[in-house]
Subunit: 205 residues, 2 copies
């Protein structure tokens, strides 16, 4: 059986890869469509045929990254020893994702008051996937009678994610910034791990 | 013994009271310095002598409200049966404060991207007072061996306050708003009570 590969898709894939590398190493603002066209040996006109502007290209890269992020979550969905393990994996995964792609999120810092709706949609999708994954872990633990039965596992996860979000934003919201500085990430990470530890113990029988 | 009362203080007090009532009933933007001067039968020039502009008058009212809020916290500092009771009191107190003064916070909604530093200082003072009050409750519970010894009670409270903050902001941050809508307050309140319940249980022996 042969799989037909659309040559358009190959070109798109190449553009996304070059754009990702440039956004990551030089940041959104310092990357030009010209440079990306050069990377993939493509005319600027053709590049604009695929992506009408830099922000739409950025969002396409963001979608690709998100896909990878969610796949990693899904792959491990059945490996967790217990609830703390599941939550810790989720937090570590998110931490690594942000640390490894820090410059990529330049775009968030630049547009903090005015993120496009598509970005909010992607954030919403991630949130939903995390709720699904983690509420399944709760159900398993309830079955094993490790934790007390909960009426609505999704609501519990939503609460925990809100709380974790608070640890993230509190440390910098006073500075009116939307995105934490790189040197704050480790402190935030440690606080979140502690929160998860306490929270999970609070759910136990 | 007689207490000397500065007539300036009496006038200031009257201005603050009128300003509070107007901010509360009509909101910051719809209140004018003229109206306040009228309320207290004072020339506009004299009013401006006390408060150089409306925002400084607002901040003075905010300071007065904060004082009352913190006094209420301090009064009850020794009444709590246990840690959940202490946390619940703090959350209820904050909830009532916001519900009762909802229109007063109009100013926050108007200036959400650009709150004056003095407001951030006041928020910082409240935060510090809450940490002091609640970390004392933790110490007492550790002494009674109800909860596990914690190395740094202040850090635990800071974590909980961050988490509670997250419950507050998550529900509306996607709408890019800085302050919750009135109809969201009760839902936020219920979520925070649940978080406190789980968190406290997580700290127990």
């Amino acid at each position: 059986m042969s799989i037909a590969i659309d040559p358009h898709d190959i070109k798109k894939e190449k553009i996304l890869e070059s754009a990702y590398n440039r956004f990551l190493h030089y940041g959104y603002s310092k990357t030009t469509m010209n440079e990306i066209a050069g990377d993939v040996s493509m005319s600027k006109a053709l590049l604009y045929y695929y992506f009408p502007d830099k922000s739409q290209l950025y969002i396409a890269v963001m979608r690709k990254l998100t896909k990878g992020y969610l796949e990693k979550l899904a792959q491990h969905a059945d490996d967790f020893l217990n609830l703390e393990d599941a939550f810790t994996f989720q937090i570590n995964n998110q931490h690594d994702f942000i640390v490894n792609n820090y410059n990529f999120f330049d775009f968030f810092r630049l547009n903090e008051q005015n993120l496009p709706d598509t970005i909010w949609e992607i954030i919403g999708e991630i949130h939903l996937a995390e709720i699904n994954l983690l509420s399944n872990s709760i159900r398993k633990e309830v079955e094993k009678k490790v934790i007390r039965p909960v009426e609505n596992p999704e609501a519990i996860i939503d609460l925990l994610l809100d709380a974790l979000h608070g640890v993230r934003v509190s440390s910098f919201s006073q500075k009116k910034a939307f995105f934490p500085r790189k040197e704050q990430l480790e402190e935030i990470h440690q606080k979140r791990l502690l929160l998860v530890k306490i929270f999970v113990k609070g759910l136990m029988n």
